[in-house]
């Protein structure tokens, strides 16, 4: 339907949308129903000198008559003010999910090259595991990154006998958490593992999970040899097919891919952020020298720590590289400020004196504001979220603004 003009004498079109005299309050618009504020019960307003019509009545007539009327500039009636605008269904888009990967270590660093144990751990704790920091633990800006533990199914390599030993506790603990109920031993490449090394990454680091196919652990061996370990997920390009809960650990590198798929060093459990390595395999490939004497505090996990930190010490390119993965759910809010909206400000610099007079005389009849902040509110006018623009955005009666606000959960 074509746009139809409104009779400025108050006759209006169709159901009778019309202007008031222009000299009275803002709330009334003939007999055409409430204004924007009127729908909330608002009453009169300041004299404007311009014939005014309520947006509500225009919308109603637009629906009934399928005819959008033409009105003079500045003729919208906002009565004594409006600061909140309700979102409509079209303004809110929910449910967008995005996969976000970042460098795993503190500060979103992708490669860890400095490894520190912590003197804050008690001697008893050190019988079970070493907590590894990215720098001197006494410096408040350094944080725990991951832990290393050694587990033996029969308790060898640590003090105590039978079930009463740290290595047995470690083995049982991770077997309980990582393996199916029917499986009591770790098995890599069909070979049961009596003992394993466990690298468990702090939850705060992995976010939702360790990013499969995008980590590389270097372990120094004898004669300067370095064993590079990766997983066999093959998802280095984020194809999104890495939804398994476990992958084999094989030799290879992030740069050149998998070297050898037949020799299985262990398993990685991305959702847990846990890397389990067979001790026998590391002994053979990296000369780790695991001690399996009973009732002896062999500190085997210290050997793996030395091998990891030693590799990085010899060559900074041999650090522990990894990424975290997180699913971020976003909701988009489309904030629309129409030409007649938000052209005045409660900013104290907007007025002068004590009677609300506009500071800038050029704003009288042509008000302007600068938007810097968008606030998202609930029905009780409580501010739930806030977004800032990168620079002030000019708003006046001669322009409209559309701002897309993204809120992540």
């Amino acid at each position: 339907m074509p746009i139809q003009p409104i009779d400025p004498n108050g006759g209006g079109t169709g159901a009778g949308a019309g202007f008031n005299s222009g000299t009275g309050g803002g709330g009334s618009t003939g007999n055409n129903g409430p204004s924007i504020l009127g729908s909330l019960g608002a009453g009169g307003g300041a004299s404007t000198g311009i014939p005014q019509v309520s947006v509500a009545s225009l919308s109603a007539n637009d629906v009934v008559q399928d005819a959008t009327p033409v009105i003079p500039a500045g003729a919208y009636d906002f009565g004594t003010g409006k600061v909140f605008t309700a979102f409509t269904i079209e303004d809110v888009v929910e449910g967008s999910t995005q996969r976000v990967t970042r460098g795993l270590w503190s500060g979103n660093v992708g490669e860890l090259t400095s490894f520190w144990t912590s003197s804050y751990q008690s001697s008893t704790q050190k019988q079970y595991y070493y907590e590894i920091y990215n720098g001197d633990p006494t410096v408040s800006t350094n944080y725990a990154q991951f832990s290393i533990a050694y587990g033996h199914y029969a308790g060898s390599g640590s003090l105590g006998a039978n079930e009463d030993s740290p290595s047995n506790a470690i083995y049982s603990q991770f077997q309980q958490v990582l393996l199916p109920a029917s499986q009591r031993r770790f098995s890599f490449g069909g070979v049961n593992q009596d003992d394993v090394y466990v690298v468990t990454i702090n939850r705060e680091r992995i976010k939702d999970k360790l990013d499969p196919g995008n980590w590389e652990l270097c372990i120094s061996g004898s004669n300067g040899r370095v064993v590079r370990l990766v997983d066999d997920s093959g998802d280095t390009n984020q194809l999104g097919n890495s939804n398994q809960n476990v992958y084999n650990i094989v030799s290879g590198s992030l740069l050149n891919g998998v070297y050898n798929t037949t020799e299985i060093f262990g398993a990685v459990y991305p959702q847990f952020g846990v890397i389990v390595l067979g001790a026998a395999g590391l002994d053979a490939s990296a000369s780790l020298g695991t001690i399996r004497t009973t009732n002896t505090d062999a500190q085997n996990h210290g050997k793996l720590f030395t091998a990891i930190s030693g590799a990085a010490h010899d060559n900074a390119g041999n650090g522990f590289q990894a990424r975290s993965e997180e699913e971020v759910k976003s909701t988009f809010f489309f904030v629309r400020a129409k030409n007649a909206e938000y052209n005045f400000s409660n900013n104290p610099s907007y007025v002068t004196g004590s009677n609300g007079k506009l500071l800038q005389q050029t704003f009288v009849g042509d008000p302007k504001t600068y938007i810097t902040t968008v606030g998202l509110y609930n029905n009780d006018n409580e501010l739930l979220a806030i977004a800032k623009l990168s620079k002030p955005l000019l708003k006046s009666f001669s322009n409209e603004i559309l701002i897309k606000v993204k809120l992540d959960f």
Partner: protein, 224 residues
């Protein structure tokens, strides 16, 4: 022939403390239904109609200004909201309160705050009042407007500096704390916001402890 700028303004939002609190209570409690706009860091005195390069440059200083990052305390963000008014409005509505400051002793003493809006507004939706430190006391609003009261969660014998938000038609009553924590004076503020105009004003509040000597005098005088 050049290309038109087709970039849209996209910004990331962060949750306020209130938003996090409500989200923690469940998604049904976290319902964003409306928006408002603000210009907290803009100084309109920088608008220069005498700029030698003409109208396009009147606001160039403001437009080139970097905007500071968002803060998460909802009581201090969105201080100066933009509002919609008829185009030829020459005087803006503003809020007046009486008294403009409060000084009370502890012991549940009352003080009534009357609120009006000059140049029209807020007659129907009234005002929102935020007491920034509920250790100092509590606040209530008179009836006649829609709205709710944000409950205070008591974590211990004192409320440990939480804010309290209430709505009222045109009057609020502040009641000082029965006993101040640590017997030390508390200085805080009550922020009054117009629910239609978005205008705000602040009232300084001081609640002083009552010394033992004062208490003794009261006890002696009361029986008489």
């Amino acid at each position: 022939m050049g290309f038109l700028d087709n970039s849209s303004v996209t910004v990331d939002a962060i949750l306020t403390k209130k938003g996090r609190e409500l989200l923690a209570q469940g998604r049904d409690k976290f319902q964003i239904t409306q928006f408002a706009l603000a210009d907290d860091e803009v100084d309109y005195e920088l608008w220069n109609p005498a700029h030698s390069l003409g109208t396009d440059y009147y606001g160039i200083v403001i437009e080139n200004m970097p905007v500071i990052e968002a803060i998460t305390d909802e009581n201090y963000a969105m201080k100066y909201k933009l509002l919609s008014l008829p185009k030829t409005t020459a005087r803006l509505p503003y809020i007046q309160v009486s008294p403009s400051s409060l000084t009370l002793n502890e012991g549940a003493n009352n003080s009534v705050i009357a609120v009006t809006t000059k140049n029209g507004g807020n007659e129907n939706l009234g005002y929102t009042a935020i007491l920034l430190n509920s250790d100092a006391g509590s606040i209530t609003g008179n009836s006649g407007v829609p709205g709710n009261v944000t409950p205070i969660v008591n974590v211990s014998s004192y409320n440990t500096a939480q804010s309290q938000t209430v709505v009222g038609k045109n009057q609020f009553t502040f009641v000082s704390a029965a006993n101040l924590p640590n017997d030390t004076a508390i200085t805080t503020r009550i922020v009054i916001i117009g629910n239609e105009t978005g205008g705000r004003t602040e009232i300084d509040v001081t609640v002083n402890p009552v010394t033992d000597a004062q208490t003794t005098v009261v006890n002696v005088v009361s029986p008489a």
